[in-house]
Symmetry: C2
Subunit: 185 residues, 2 copies
């Protein structure tokens, strides 16, 4: 990996920004990569699609915005529609199927349906940790950080007292990714 | 204001990243500006200076990194030493005097000493909200967002149940800035 570009998208309140920050900390502080993590807000953002961008590199990052995403995560239909064009040819797409009912064909790309919100709600009783479930799947599928680094970064970044719940959600996501990957193969 | 570049710097654990995110939300979602907010991590970051960068513009932001900071906040000596060279000529510098004992002369620049950590510790009993005190001062001095927008963004961004404490800290910071500004004039 010389440069990997990741975009996580959804709507406000899903913890998209926090997920991006956790990846950046994992890869930058713990895996010792160079990382920039950016979010953009604009007059058009309110209530609409929001995204967090992470660029990870073995060298210093000069241009910190995602130009072509190697990995795109979409946690809402609107976000997918808005950002799908930024997915690289042959890139990897993760969607939450309960929030993204219509996934177009993307020739050459691998698509993983990760039911993060359903797992967070039904198995953990806390919809709010759907972002952590998705994060676990993302790490397992993309290798954007090591497992050790992402766990460390989650522990450091979530509100004190919620570490256990968030780490459990992360591991659910990793497990989910293993199962989904088995189905695809 | 066509483009304003702000850099908040300190060490890990001070809530530098959160302060940057709150400004970005305030200006982008509530004041309806175009905003990007970036943090960088690298092998050199661990335990050292860390920074959050915010670019606010009336137009879409093409290059999201701070090139010359209009406003630099330093919450540690190491951060000031590391980032002072990025302060624009005639720019504004805010330092926490208990953490930054040595402030060099910066001809043409305005320097404000904001005792954020002392106020957070002594007046609010919670050192952890020093970032919110500094944020309040920053908004008052720089006008980077409206008061209404920053309060809204704080409310949305801090852990549930801590809104009151954080808003109180923010207001302490605004008050502190008024007093310090009076001294300077």
């Amino acid at each position: 990996m010389s440069r990997m570009e990741v975009k996580i998208s959804g709507f406000g309140g899903q913890g998209i920004v926090l997920a991006g920050i956790i990846i950046a900390r994992a890869a930058g502080l713990h895996d010792k990569k160079y990382v920039t993590q950016t979010q953009s807000y604009g007059p058009e953002a309110r209530g609409g699609a929001c995204a967090s961008e992470i660029v990870i590199s073995d060298e210093k990052v000069d241009y910190p915005l995602v130009e072509e995403a190697d990995v795109l995560v979409a946690m809402s239909q609107e976000a997918l529609n808005h950002y799908l064009s930024t997915l690289k040819e042959g890139g990897t797409l993760l969607v939450d199927p309960d929030l993204v009912p219509e996934v177009p064909e993307v020739p050459g790309s691998k698509i993983y349906k990760i039911a993060a919100t359903r797992v967070a709600t039904n198995e953990l009783g806390r919809k709010i940790v759907a972002n952590m479930v998705m994060l676990g799947s993302l790490v397992h599928i993309s290798g954007v950080s090591t497992n050790k680094a992402i766990k460390e970064a989650v522990r450091e970044s979530v509100p004190p007292g919620t570490e256990g719940l968030n780490l459990k959600a992360l591991e659910k996501g990793m497990k989910l990714a293993r199962e989904v990957a088995d189905e695809i193969i």
